[in-house]
Symmetry: C2
Subunit: 430 residues, 2 copies
């Protein structure tokens, strides 16, 4: 069989190391000219496939592809939040049509649960329409909510180790600030991503595994109220004179934090007000036992693109799982997601790359284990620390700089010539 | 004359490199046992002096003091926002009393304009009361608003180079995120510190000196309105499909951004709502020419304590100016602030350490030069870039880690034995 082409696409929010899975796919594909022809990147994920905007990644020199190692987020080929929903038949048909037009034999989809399901559906449809297509999923999410509750399908997602390292360092530095400035600023509130799943705020504990800091961690899963948060903070101020609060962006601040309009209607929504601000405003209505006020900050997208904090372990694994996805595609065929499994036989941290059925992954759910939430509701257990600690790695990743600035990969913006009529993705139609 | 003791104290918000000025003072003092006895650190700045809480820095081993090099913020000895105001005679008298009780011959005050003035007043008063006291100021501020408009007293403040590097890297990374995610998140709003003086948001330009990014920078000094900001952003979306907005925390958002209570009264204040949130909320009422919404983030204190982004130049200079302050105290006597002046004779970046009279510094004001604001109001000029670029240094600073975490200095918490009755600082009295 002659070599077939590859399409790789990214989906959802980026991570610090997402480009390493891309790099793994490109570099592994280049070593198999017997089986693989061109490697195309969907410009802005599946949107680029729908619009037939395919970046010819084969046109980029190896040195530039190598720089993807320390290039965060998705500036290289882009990602999207476009979902191929059940019933969007024209979109699905269009993807197959584009793949046919460009002789695509392999489709790699780097993303979360939804994306793995989509990848599978696309391959089934393609095969029904006479296109021999192998779809393989590549896991990616900072939230670590991909896989199953028992960690048997996937131990952890590439992207999580780096955001965990971000918070380990962030909170450790914030503690220097809070400890040094506490007469003026005794309470620092930090809002972490992750909505309903608490792996990201939980990582704040990695900053202080010995529990020496006056650190309180509020996962959405804690079920605590804003009032309870306030009581906890005041208690911490009584004992330590200061407090660091890490709160999930999904923490339920209830009625108290709501802004009301002229008619008394609640105006609060997560897009108009941050949880951190609600918490700070509420805390500043309380009587503190020390002088000073609460202040808050929202790291935002920085937590998933601050390459200086990238975990070397995460970086290597994101690459490894990308390489492995290509091996799966060539040797195992259709319908798999590449996975990372931890060897639990010894005390040393070791992983191996494996595979899980796409449909099984798509139908799995991973929550933050209840038993890892500490009984006091504002901490996580040592079992969590044991799980997460190896993921942040040891020393710093070396990020190349030019003239004092990080030098990120700049892939050649060479597009595959279009062969099909224009197409407007279904969601964008009026 | 027998050796006299030193008190060093920090004042105001910390920086990434403030501990390097402290290190410079400690290490230089240790090399002069003929002149200098103990080195005490005021616990939480001048508050520690008033309360006679003096950390005996001579008790810390040299290796721990050396670690101050890569220890951000003021977790070592603390800082404060306590001001010795004109007329607080009891506070001034108490400082003199404490200095007398501990045979303090040298007082180093690391801080901004106000602190330099205070240092001078304390030394004058001490000398009037028969204590031979040499007070020397050490410049420190991330805002770079210390010194004179002509840059002849001080070229730049230690602390600014590191926050400038922070924004250079931060915005460069944010650009990877914004470029890669723009169909979903076309506008990213980033709030920078600095209130009325725009050096910090201006540093965002260092991320992109060639002006390749769709970057808009809103200094407070621009005098632009929220409406104009909105128009600019929409225009950028029309041309580039995306936009990065860096806005000063002091940017005047006017009436539009205000939250109103049930009576229609304006509830807005900077402590209850951030400028970034007001900007995001306003932008999301506008009709964008692309899909997606604006999102915002607030780096907060992270911008002054993220040691990974510390500028090697800033780090060395903060140390150098601390060392120089001790030399001034020993050789030049009372009433000076140690300074950094730039050699403008060649194209290479070179500085020398010098001194300026404390009272002259205290009465000087440094604004962001009007001529460095670009005519379009949303950028800064190449003259600013030329000024600021050398301050961010070249390669990364190497921060020692242990078990994946940065290892910060832990100075021995040995206090000088108290010799005086308790004292409540005037501001804290009921």
């Amino acid at each position: 069989m002659p070599p077939r082409n590859v399409v790789v696409a990214q989906s959802g929010g980026p991570t610090c190391v997402i480009n390493n899975s891309l790099r793994g796919i490109i570099e592994t594909a280049r070593r198999r000219p017997d089986k693989i022809g061109k490697v195309y990147g969907g410009r802005f994920g599946i949107e680029g496939v729908l619009k037939e905007e395919l970046i010819d990644l084969s046109a980029s020199p190896a040195e530039e592809v190598a720089l993807l190692r320390t290039s965060p987020a998705a500036g290289s080929i882009g990602t999207c939040r476009y979902k191929l929903k059940e019933g969007q038949d024209q979109d699905f048909a269009r993807v197959v049509e584009v793949f046919k037009a460009h002789d695509v034999g392999y489709f790699f989809y780097i993303g979360g649960n939804d994306s793995q399901d989509t990848a599978h559906k696309v391959s089934v449809l393609a095969n029904e329409h006479g296109l021999d297509l192998v779809a393989v999923g590549v896991p990616k999410t900072i939230d670590n909510d991909l896989g199953d509750a028992a960690f048997t399908l996937l131990d952890h997602s590439p992207g999580y180790g780096s955001v965990a390292r971000y918070y380990a360092h962030y909170v450790r530095q914030a503690n220097e600030e809070n400890a040094g400035s506490c007469p003026a600023d005794p309470v620092l509130v930090i809002q972490a991503m992750g909505r309903k799943i608490g792996y990201i705020p939980a990582a704040a504990r990695l900053a202080d595994p010995a529990r020496e800091m006056p650190l309180q961690i509020y996962l959405t899963e804690s079920g605590l109220s804003l009032q309870q948060l306030g009581e906890n903070v005041v208690r911490q101020l009584e004992s330590d004179g200061r407090c660091i609060v890490v709160v999930s962006e999904g923490f339920d601040v209830g009625e108290v934090g709501n802004v009301r309009d002229n008619f008394g209607h609640v105006q609060f929504s997560s897009s108009q007000q941050t949880v951190a601000q609600v918490v700070v405003n509420y805390l500043n209505t309380l009587k503190f036992p020390v002088p000073g006020k609460a202040r808050g900050q929202v790291p935002g997208t920085d937590q998933r693109n601050a390459i200086a904090y990238a975990s070397s372990v995460d970086l290597d694994e994101a690459y490894g799982v990308g390489c492995h996805a290509v091996e799966i595609a060539l040797n195992e065929g259709n319908g798999w997601m590449a996975t990372i499994l931890r060897d639990r036989s010894g005390s040393a941290y070791n992983v191996r790359y494996d595979k899980a059925p796409l449909d099984k992954v798509a139908n799995s759910e991973r929550f933050f284990p209840k038993e890892w939430l500490a009984p006091n509701g504002i901490d996580v257990t040592d079992d969590f620390v044991e799980y997460a600690r190896p993921l942040i790695g040891e020393d710093w990743v070396s990020v190349p700089t030019v003239a004092g600035l990080p030098r990120f990969a700049r892939l050649a913006q060479v597009f595959a010539p279009k062969k099909l009529p224009e197409y407007v993705p279904q969601t964008y139609r009026k």
